[in-house]
């Protein structure tokens, strides 16, 4: 969705990434070289969440905004898990 602007030549591979939190699943199609910050922001926007209040995990590893599917060696169909940061006493 958010990422289909500026269509690249056919050589650029797109990935379908599933993003899921406790109660939603959203699918994104992005380029291998796109920073995941874009996807993370889009997800938060859509879910009405503050981006500082969530963390994204890929395979147990925390996703940094500057990470790309390439740097994380993601494959088509992979899932990002979203956890809401919580505190309490």
């Amino acid at each position: 969705m958010a990422d289909q602007v500026g269509d690249a030549p056919a050589a650029v591979e797109h990935l379908n990434i599933k993003v899921t939190d406790n109660n939603n699943e959203v699918f994104f199609k992005i380029k291998r070289s796109t920073q995941l910050k874009k996807l993370m922001d889009a997800f938060c926007e859509r879910q009405g969440k503050q981006s500082s209040s969530v963390r994204f995990l890929f395979d147990g590893t925390r996703v940094r905004p500057e990470d790309t599917p390439d740097t994380l060696e993601m494959a088509d169909g992979d899932t990002l898990e979203v956890h809401q940061e919580q505190i309490g006493g």
């Binding site: 899921t20 939190d21 406790n22 109660n23 938060c44 926007e45 879910q47 009405g48 969440k49 503050q50 981006s51 209040s53 995990l57 147990g60 590893t61 925390r62 956890h83 809401q84 940061e85 919580q86 505190i87 309490g88 006493g89």
Partner: protein, 656 residues
């Protein structure tokens, strides 16, 4: 102590060192030992049946005693004790037996400890032995004398005795109930399962900190201490009855020659009667409806039955004997003696020794005072099921049994779950944990960029360990990390904390409509992965409005959903209950707001969620609404678990 005599050993009987001879010269010249080896058990039995526990072996007794008079240190005494127990035993038995090799005699000591006693106090005995070795000296003279009189058992110093008593009282105060039966059921199931499915279970094997197992073991050993004290009370009760009955018999029962029975005759009369009532066989007849009285000689005649009754008689006599000794002891010294570390040994003494023992204790006003202040503890234990350690500390202080500084040391060392742990102590433990992670996992001190994985968990930022400090709120990450370290049975699954509310871009809080959807899905997938349907138990922390955690249990085995909230209130309860109704109605489990000890601070809910999970997952109780658990102490337990995890190499560097 005579200089140069430290290693001196007394030998009364020649030791069989044939093996040395054979080693050196081969066995051609050495005659084979012509005596028959005797089973260790037999030696012990013979020794016991002659009621010899020392004093009979006068010679060795005196030798050892005189050697000790200079004030030998405790470990040496222990050595003497073992040695002498060998000698005495050899003395009493006939020659053939006494010539059994030294080693095998030594084994007897163990054999006897475990074999001939049917209800010892393991905790007390083990610790008393340990103490004797680790706490040398103090009051040399006194001990020498005590040793001489009591023979077999060297009396320990007042400090040792107090220390052992405090250990027992401490244990009894902490582990108040016995191990719940479901735990045994579960252990059996696990054992049986892992026998048949070793391959699959080995794949599941994961590290955990083991603290729950320590707890279970302690609970078990504590239950036996408690049972022993109660047993002793029962023995005394039975003895009092028996004694009365004997008096009665002496006045009413006649011998065949028409004279009133003496004490002995009365006793055996009472025992006979008792036994007849027990086996229900005053006449060998049984009423069978429609037939009338029928003689059932066959039953009585079988050897089996006879064996049973002799056994019963033996057991009762044994217990009555103990009851008699205990009654006498309690009368002379006070009820407190029942918690004395050597009480079990006392009941096994000969009467001569036993009387000497009482005299000795009575002449020692400090011991008498100790047993005096112990008496209310025994009463408490019997009445309420647990002693009052704090009251005991106060008594120790007011009676000046040991210096106040030592009482305070004990207070610091042996604390209860409810005693406040100073912030500094928890802080120090957290410092240590963070340093350990730095040195062992990261190779430098953790900063905000460094991250680790705890026992296979997802990536966790190292800054979260700061949240273990006193008065600090916890994040969902530290709760997850701590949950990874706990012991739990294979059927328990736990998940990440589930928020019931979310924060939008403008910082506003909104209730999430169906917060458990993801968790329900996860449960479904766990369920698919296990073979047995309905056998899992799920635990999941819940976060309320980003300021409070509680714990949710969904138990398939019991078909129950429970909510554990350390700040229980109607609003939260109503909310959780309606969410459960909405999302888990399909399960048709009953829902309850479960009993949970309450927090009195405004920070410990995360700590309590982990602490509760740790116990609940293993079927251990967490206490009732007004049970007081010190939050810092609970947090320390979590820090300890994480520290163990780091030490065992189960915390792995992610980034540094």
């Amino acid at each position: 102590m005579v200089k140069g005599a430290e290693d001196f050993r007394y030998q009364i009987w020649p030791v069989n060192e044939t093996h040395l001879w054979i080693e050196r010269f081969g066995n051609q010249i050495a005659p084979m030992p012509h005596w028959r080896a005797v089973k260790a058990n037999f030696v012990a039995t013979v020794a016991l049946s002659r009621n010899l526990y020392p004093i009979n072996g006068l010679k060795s007794e005196n030798l050892v005693t005189s050697a000790l008079h200079g004030g030998a240190s405790q470990p040496e005494k222990l050595k003497y004790q073992i040695q002498r127990s060998k000698q005495t035993r050899s003395n009493s038995t006939d020659n053939t037996i006494s010539l059994v090799g030294e080693d095998s005699v030594e084994n007897d000591v163990d054999e006897e400890e475990h074999g001939t006693e049917d209800g010892p106090i393991p905790g007390i005995r083990a610790s008393s032995c340990e103490m004797a070795q680790s706490q040398p000296h103090v009051e040399g003279l006194m001990e020498g004398e005590e040793f001489a009189i009591t023979g077999m058992i060297p009396e320990s110093t007042i400090l040792d005795t107090i220390l052992q008593v405090v250990q027992v009282l401490h244990q009894l105060s902490i582990y108040r109930i016995e191990v719940p039966r479901p735990i045994h059921v579960r252990i059996l199931q696990t054992i049986q399962k892992s026998d048949s499915e070793q391959l699959t279970t080995s794949l599941d094997t994961r590290w955990s900190d083991g603290s729950t197992w320590v707890r279970i073991l302690e609970m078990g050993s504590c239950a036996s201490i408690r049972a022993t004290v109660l047993n002793m009370v029962e023995y005394m009760g039975a003895w009092a009855w028996f004694d009365e009955q004997c008096q009665h018999a002496k006045a009413t029962v006649y011998t065949k020659k028409g004279r009133l029975v003496d004490r002995r005759g009365g006793a055996s009369y009472v025992l006979d009667m008792l036994q007849q009532h027990q086996t229900g066989a005053t006449t060998p007849e049984k009423w069978i409806s429609g037939v009338g009285p029928v003689t059932v000689r066959a039953i009585r005649d079988t050897a089996n039955c006879d064996g049973k009754t002799t056994q019963l008689r033996k057991r009762i006599i044994n217990q009555l004997h103990r009851g008699q000794k205990l009654s006498k002891l309690v009368k002379a010294v006070g009820l407190g003696i029942l918690l004395g570390p050597k009480i079990w040994d006392y009941t096994k003494m000969s009467w001569k020794q036993f009387d000497a023992l009482i005299e000795m204790i009575q002449s020692d006003h400090r011991k008498m005072n100790l047993y005096k202040v112990l008496s209310p503890q025994v009463e408490q234990l019997v009445h309420q099921g647990l002693p009052d350690l704090h009251a005991f500390y106060n008594d120790l202080e007011s009676e000046k049994l040991i210096p106040a500084s030592q009482v305070n040391q004990l207070r610091m060392e042996y604390v209860l779950d409810s005693d406040a742990l100073p912030d500094a102590q928890l802080d120090a433990a957290v410092d240590q944990l963070i340093q350990l992670i730095g040195s062992k996992v990261l190779n430098n001190l953790p900063d905000k960029n460094s991250s680790v994985s705890v026992n296979g968990s997802a990536e966790i930022s190292c800054t979260i360990f700061e949240q273990l400090r006193p008065g600090t709120w916890m994040s969902d990450e530290i709760i997850m990390a701590a949950m990874e370290t706990i012991d739990k049975p294979a059927f328990v699954r736990h998940g990440l904390s589930i928020p019931l509310d979310k924060i939008d871009r403008h910082g506003q809080m909104w209730a999430i409509e169906r917060p458990f959807t993801g968790w329900a899905k996860k449960m479904a997938s766990y369920r698919r992965d296990t073979e047995e349907a309905g056998s899992l138990v799920y635990f999941c922390p819940i976060n309320h409005q980003n300021n409070h955690y509680s714990l949710l249990e969904i138990n398939e085995r019991e078909r129950k959903i429970r909510h554990f909230d350390s700040l229980a209130g109607k609003d939260r309860h109503d909310r959780v209950s309606s969410l459960i109704k909405k999302e888990f109605a399909g399960l048709r489990y009953s829902y309850e707001e479960a009993t949970t000890p309450q927090q009195t601070d405004n920070w410990s809910c995360g700590t309590r969620v982990i602490w509760n999970l740790k116990r609940l997952a293993n079927g251990l109780p967490i206490g009732i609404w007004d049970t007081v658990h010190d939050s810092n102490r609970m947090a320390l337990e979590i820090v300890d678990g994480l520290t163990a995890c780091v030490e065992d190499g189960r915390v792995i560097k992610y980034r540094d």
